[in-house]
Amino acid sequence: MSASETKHAGLNLGGTDAKTHAEAEHAIFGFWIFLMSDAVIFALLFATYGVMLPATAGGPTPTSVFKIGPTFAETLLLLTSSLTYGMASVAMKHGSPLGGIHRWLAVTLLLGLIFLAFEWHDFSDMFAQGAYPTRSGFLSAFFGLVPLHGLHVIAGIVWILVMMVQLRVFGLDARVKINLLRLGLFWHFLDIVWIAIFSTVYLPGLLP
């Protein structure tokens, strides 16, 4: 059994920190299970959206309220933040100076915040057009699904903040490392959910 053996899905610490690597195995596996359970929640909301798509009740329709420009920008922001978080993980794994990890985390945080600002702007635009959740079943389903992803992003941002403080307080101890690994899985997972959102909600809605 070599130290760099893969013990769990996700970035493995085997090559650089064997002790934390061993501890991480069940912690990361548990977090994967949580993500899958969360994925079921999202999947059901997607199914709900599919069921309620025709239920516009004479109100706004997908074509009338979705915009391709902001959606594309949001996608790029989230995708890039996934890369920058990846860079933070690599820096953490290979024992880079704390400053480097901090910088990558801060960039990720910033991208997440800009994403939220765009999303907020989208929603307020929709509200201004009379597309609010109490208007129809379709809009209820939309606002049940997409803002839930936004809430997850907010949770991720708070988590990044907490981790930045913990990095200052504790440095890179085992628990900080394991939590950074978990946070990484969470952040990449949110990116994947967003792919599903723009591909099944926004883009089909914009098709004629």
Partner: protein, 103 residues
């Protein structure tokens, strides 16, 4: 494999994933913005691109590997996929059928 090689390989994996994701996202948005096929076909293409991109991200960002020692995780993800497929597929079949019969 020493530490530096490993690091370079990992960074490369993230960059490959990022580049691939950008391309697939770009194509998906482009064929919706400047349609070249019927809406049905375009939607199918968007879904296919999304699926490919998700697999790519699983591989490059989440480091899902087919190696034996991480089999538990792969089983978990495949089982989750099965459950999600049953739930989403079942819901759509049942309720769209009901809708059809009520309209």
């Amino acid at each position: 494999m020493n530490g530096n090689d490993e690091r370079r390989a990992e960074v490369r994996s993230y960059l490959v994933g990022y580049a691939g994701a950008i391309v697939m996202t770009g194509v998906a948005f482009a064929i919706v913005q400047w349609p070249i096929a019927s809406p049905k076909l375009t939607f199918a293409a968007v879904l296919t691109l999304a699926f490919t991109q998700i697999v790519l991200q699983f591989r490059c960002f989440l480091h899902i590997s087919l190696r034996r020692s991480a089999r538990d995780d792969l089983q978990l993800i495949l089982f989750s996929t099965l459950v999600v497929a049953l739930m989403v597929g079942g819901t759509l079949v049942i309720l769209l059928n009901l809708r059809e019969r009520m309209m």
